[in-house]
């Protein structure tokens, strides 16, 4: 079920909220059981058969976690259970996500020697697998004291974050499940506002720009020649589409959590305002970055084993991070590019500190980072390597710098809208990205008490006042009148 689908908005959500709060007086266990059932229903709406896979994964991980916890005094046995748990999770994700990729590569090297399996990727498998791996590792490290099946099941399946994150750490939510969920006006109004903004980002901006990105990348993948202008428009459209799609989803997830009284972690902090790639990864898909840092980069040795190992660890982390996004060499290249960017960034910082050089002016850092990130998106979005290279070569090929009105008209035509509508979409994307604060931070700060005295960037917060309610109504009107066609969320595929 998509957050942006009418069936979710106008049936599932109102029914779940009404039922959740009306059974509050029956007790916490009732609420948690109901939420778990609702989350499984939400997941099963897409493909009922995979509910069993999800339940199997939860049951196996829970049992392994209890084994690890009960073997606390015997680290060697606990370690064996951990290895078994990791192997199970990696086998599961390996089969469903990477098996055919592996077969493709074997066949490319040795001819058609291994048959393809018809495997449908279970939605959200990358997310719920990572959450469970983190739980097992923390159980082994003694960071988990105890758990029970209901809390554990709800931690994994809690529907706002189940299929596309934020990747929730058990310490983020499990303590919150220990108290009864009541309708709290502050949380509800803040959540409703944030959810609506996320919905706007997804339905109006991301889905509005999607046909442009689809059209241009489709041309590139088909080997059609592109002009520099068309390539740039396609890249920019995808750059904004991905950001608005995914950050919109995260905003909706956090908003939904708040409406139920649960606070999920922030996933995006205006990433395109980053003035360096290091900064970008502190703002983009923050919960994935946190996971990769805590459960991959640091266990690899992080920066504790010298500069060379640090760079190698960075590259390994980013390559695997790329592969996490999808079974394709394009994702690996994308991860590798970001690994390279990070290495250059760290090296530059080291040189700058050693020679007491000044920081790059912020606009220059911002432009450089934004440009680098856009270039890397070409590999992330294109279905073929040649398509990605075609997108990028059009930007550096002098012969592609021609004025071709027909090709520009074709791009606009692909949207089914007028040129003015397309320009307005890009303008909205620019303004929201660069001039407005990150929506989830803006809203969550409202729950942290008074923000007066904070630095300017953080001093503005959501308030449940008349102005914000007017904005809430206006945003809904925009959603109703200007949303694009129904599209799935991009991060569902990962």
């Amino acid at each position: 079920m998509l957050f942006s689908s009418p069936i979710f908005l106008f049936a599932f959500l109102p029914v779940v909220l009404a039922a959740l709060f009306s059974i509050a007086r029956k007790g916490l266990t009732w609420q948690k059981t109901f939420l778990l059932a609702a989350s499984l229903f939400f997941y099963g709406w897409w493909e009922f058969g995979y509910v069993f896979l999800l339940l199997l994964s939860i049951a196996a991980n829970y049992l392994i976690a209890t084994r690890i916890l009960s073997n606390g005094p015997n680290p060697e046995r606990a370690r064996r259970w951990l290895v078994a748990g990791l192997a199970l999770n990696l086998a599961l994700i390996g089969y469903y996500k990477y098996f055919n990729f592996f077969v493709d590569n074997i066949n490319a090297l040795f001819g058609d020697v291994v048959p393809h399996f018809s495997i449908i990727l279970p939605i959200g498998i990358s997310f719920f697998t990572f959450q469970q791996i983190a739980f097992l590792v923390d159980a082994y490290k003694g960071k988990v004291e105890h758990t029970n099946p209901l809390d554990y099941g709800l931690f994994v399946t809690f529907f706002p974050q189940l299929i596309a994150g934020p990747i929730v750490h058990h310490s983020d939510v499990m303590p919150q499940f220990a108290r009864r969920l009541r309708l709290e006006p502050h949380y509800f109004s803040t959540g409703a506002s944030l959810f609506t903004i996320g919905l706007f980002k997804k339905l109006v901006v991301a889905d509005g720009l999607a046909p442009i990105a689809n059209f241009v990348f489709g041309q590139a993948d088909k080997g059609e020649p592109l002009t520099a202008a068309v390539s740039a428009i396609g890249l920019l459209a995808y750059t904004f589409q991905l950001y608005f799609d995914f950050s919109g989803y995260s905003d909706m997830a956090i908003g939904l959590g708040l409406m139920m009284g649960i606070r999920l972690p922030i996933n995006f902090l205006s990433p395109y305002k980053a003035a360096s790639v290091i900064d970008f990864w502190r703002r983009w898909h923050i919960t994935l970055s946190r996971f990769l840092r805590d459960y991959l980069y640091i266990p690899l040795g992080g920066n504790r084993k010298g500069k060379v190992r640090r760079y190698i660890n960075l590259m390994i982390t980013m390559l695997l991070g790329g592969l996490w996004h999808g079974a394709s060499w394009n994702f690996v290249i994308w991860g590798g590019l970001h690994g390279l960017y990070l290495m250059i960034n760290h090296a530059w910082n080291a040189v700058r500190e050693r020679r007491s050089l000044p920081h790059l002016p912020r606009p220059a850092g911002l432009a450089l980072t934004f440009g680098g990130v856009i270039m890397a998106w070409a590999f992330f979005r294109a279905e073929t390597l040649s398509g990605a290279l075609s997108m990028l070569s059009a930007l550096v090929d002098p012969s592609a710098y021609v004025v071709d009105k027909e090709s520009l008209k074709a791009v606009v035509k692909a949207t089914g809208n007028k040129t003015s509508h397309v320009l307005a979409l890009f303008a909205a994307a620019f303004v929201i990205t660069f001039a407005l604060p990150a929506a989830s931070a803006y809203h969550l700060r409202a729950l942290d008490g008074d923000a007066r005295g904070a630095p300017a960037e953080f001093s503005r917060t959501f308030r449940a006042d008349a102005a914000h309610f007017a904005l809430f109504v206006i945003v809904w009107a925009a959603i109703l009148f200007a949303s694009g066609g129904a599209n799935e969320f991009l991060y569902f595929q990962f």
């Binding site: 998509l2 689908s5 009418p6 069936i7 908005l9 106008f10 049936a11 959500l13 109102p14 309708l183 006006p185 502050h186 509800f188 109004s189 409703a192 506002s193 609506t196 339905l203 489709g218 027909e406 008209k409 074709a410 035509k413 692909a414 089914g416 308030r463 449940a464 006042d465 914000h468 309610f469 809430f472 109504v473 809904w476 959603i479 109703l480 009148f481 949303s483 694009g484 066609g485 129904a486």
Partner: protein
Amino acid sequence: MNSSTSSSDRHDFARAFAIGAAALLLALAAGYWLVRIYFTLTGDFLPLSKAAERLLENNERRVCLYMNVISSGTDANLKFELFRRRKRPPELVVLGSSRVLALYQPMFRAPFLNMGRAYQFPAWEREVIDAIDAKGARPRLALIGVDFWWFNARYMRKSRAVSSGGITRIDPNDPRQLRIIVKRSWENPSYWSLLPQMASLPACPVGILARLKNVGYLPDGGVVYRITPATSKDRRFRDSLGRIRRDKGEFSTASAPDERQTGIVLRFMRQLRERGVKVVAYAPPVAPTVYRAMRENGDYSYIERAFTALKRAGITFHDYLDPARLGLEDCEFLDGFHPGDVANALLLLDMARREPQLSRVMDLSFLRRLAANRGMSMAISDALTGRKEGDHLGLGCPKRLSAPLPMEKLSRAYLRPPRSGREAH
């Protein structure tokens, strides 16, 4: 004191905001479900698979028609569903754009399906081939109505025709479809007139336009038209002639055919032949006035060259673009470039003369009877609905049904015998 008042105020604001937000969400939900349930019961939001089923099954007492108010982009999928769900596979199909829609089962002796709009543009080849492959049973013969603008690079580049993106499904979750239905029913409040009896609406017709206006697709894929002087969009061919004058749209001029599109058309026909389907292609005619304007006002030499390329590639191709070849009149057209049923009867009779093999699948006596109604363009539609065609083009056309159509033949084609499990086709 101040602090607690401020906190209490904030709490009140938050409560008011929460109540307002919940009320808005519930109001939207109520509106959404009303629209969705009502237009599902009318048939507009019915999945096309179910709509096709209804067309094929619910035609015991009256002819079942389908026409939704959402989008003509769904037509192709309706045709694919009709093709898929026919228990007795069609032996003869006609493929092409809306210009082939006035071809009907009674014109043929072999089981027939009109797949007009399922091959609106050459780029839709994959969908047609996939549908044929999925069915297993293949038609023996495909008549393909070839639109001249398929070979016009200027038009094809500007239109969305270069991909199959124009083929849409019915999707009540699609905000655009929801908006369209709300907007159109807002502009035409009569679309809500069935609300009081929404719980007891008959299964057929399917779709609000079919229910209220008695127009739409027949179970054989042909169309029951209703064009009146008030609803015609091409009176005195103003629209068609305007496009020719402005060198726009389908009537854009060009001297050389688009080689890429020609290649796609040839590939499509080759794929059909490889599947054992005999292919007969033809160019549907345009109205005499429109044809004259094309000759006089612009360079359309690409058309002749494209048609020559088809013939050179070994395609059986009949060029009826010039209506004079069939002796057609303006009055026999639905508009400037859509031939009516009488024009199509004349076209099929001529084709049968040239290809004796084809005459075996045609009902020549029905075609001759239909063709005797010169000057008419919607004779079959009128016979099925009891309407009388008017001078919808405003050309002073005398509309007289001189040779009434055999109703038993039409009934046999479109009505299922009661209490019989058999399909009508």
